[in-house]
Symmetry: C2
Subunit: 210 residues, 2 copies
DNA sequence: TAGATTGTTAATCGATTAACAATC
DNA sequence: TAGATTGTTAATCGATTAACAATC
């Protein structure tokens, strides 16, 4: 409560990248890292890393660098991923399957706890450890389980309606895989994953083939 | 060649979002849109949209707005997605499956044309219309087919090695789903998709549960 | 101590916004 | 014409970088 007056969104967005790089270093058995080495790996400047971290306190030692384990702990605390956030997954298609089986959520603060779809052919089928539930159950289950995060993996035309129901049920953070901008109230965070958007922002730089 | 001296990366990164919004409007049968309406849908300012587009010319009509079909064409031309870029997919796991079946590539300038894996249990199996090929064939096929874009969908520990081979074979744009920053020469573009990074930059803003 | 690297300030750089003349 | 919205400039805002004193 003491410090942390108002950290820019763009800084928050980089902390997970720092944490990810630290995880890699830790898995290699490394103990200490300098802002310069971290910067080289991430392709940013060392000053940026030091300044970003300084919003939250002094985590390093002059002349030495940062204790990797300690900085991991601190970043996990700051990002609130020491525990596991329960997530609802909406959409049981190919992408939904891949997300249920995705192994990176577990050790990084998140866990899918329910899977929904509105397609009668999918409802009742199993995906991994889950039975696909009817979307109609969504509002009840989300509020009952106190779920605050949801992943939207439905077609574009259904995404806004799903988002509305999620928000109404109490969800406050949405990871949206549908290729469409959704409208939500200001207290709800949305992040987008759209491979086409990423690809198109690279094709600009490519020379036409042949 | 005449104009377009040096457009900031951040502007290029927004053009696909504009195009995506226009596609939605077009599918609703709309003909004309103002920068203000587009801005409302995207959650940005109208001035930003007008200024971004102005890097490439004047596409609108004062007093009227933008002809949607025309602006779509222009953005597709600018982003070089009028045709279809051939892509190699490396990694035939759950994510690879989802990507092969992903329907949004086709109409937006991209097409997977080959799928690779180095796991003997996966090589030779079919995914959709593709037979999974041995990664050893990667360099040969990429240069033979003139592939410039690749998607990395392998575990983190294998991503850097795959990237090295891809770059060596002539790939100039990489969409990386592995949760790790990869090192590539400056002439190669990389975009990252890591759901954990997106989720962690939202959990920061959530109040601890209960 | 000498060497190295942090934390932090000030300067630079770049992006966004406000505003309005141009003009459809 | 009157009304509306673009294209564009200038002003504001914010983020990044450079640099160095503090200090481990």
């Amino acid at each position: 409560m003491a410090s942390t007056p108002k950290v820019p969104d763009i800084v928050i967005g980089r902390l997970p990248l720092y944490l990810r790089a630290l995880n890699v270093l830790a898995s290699q058995g490394r103990d200490i890292v300098s802002s310069q080495e971290l910067a080289d790996r991430l392709g940013c400047s060392s000053a940026q890393i030091r300044k970003d971290l300084a919003y939250f306190g002094g985590f390093g030692k002059q002349g030495a660098g940062y204790q990797i384990g300690y900085l991991q702990e601190q970043l996990r605390r700051i990002l609130k991923v020491e525990g596991q956030w329960k997530m609802a997954l909406v959409g049981a298609g190919d992408l939904g399957h891949a997300l249920v089986h995705y192994g990176e959520f577990e050790n990084n603060g998140f866990r899918i706890v329910a899977v929904f779809d509105n397609d009668p052919r999918k409802i009742g089928r199993r995906i991994g450890e889950f039975e696909v539930l009817d979307s109609k159950l969504l509002p009840h289950l989300i509020s009952q389980k106190g779920i605050r995060i949801a992943i939207i993996a439905v077609p574009a035309h259904a995404a806004q309606e799903v988002a509305d129901v999620l928000v109404q049920a109490g969800v406050r953070a949405i990871l949206n895989y549908a290729p469409i901008t959704i409208q939500v109230p200001p207290e709800v965070r949305v992040q987008y994953i759209d491979p086409v958007v990423h690809l198109q922002s690279m094709s600009y730089y490519l020379e036409p083939n042949e």
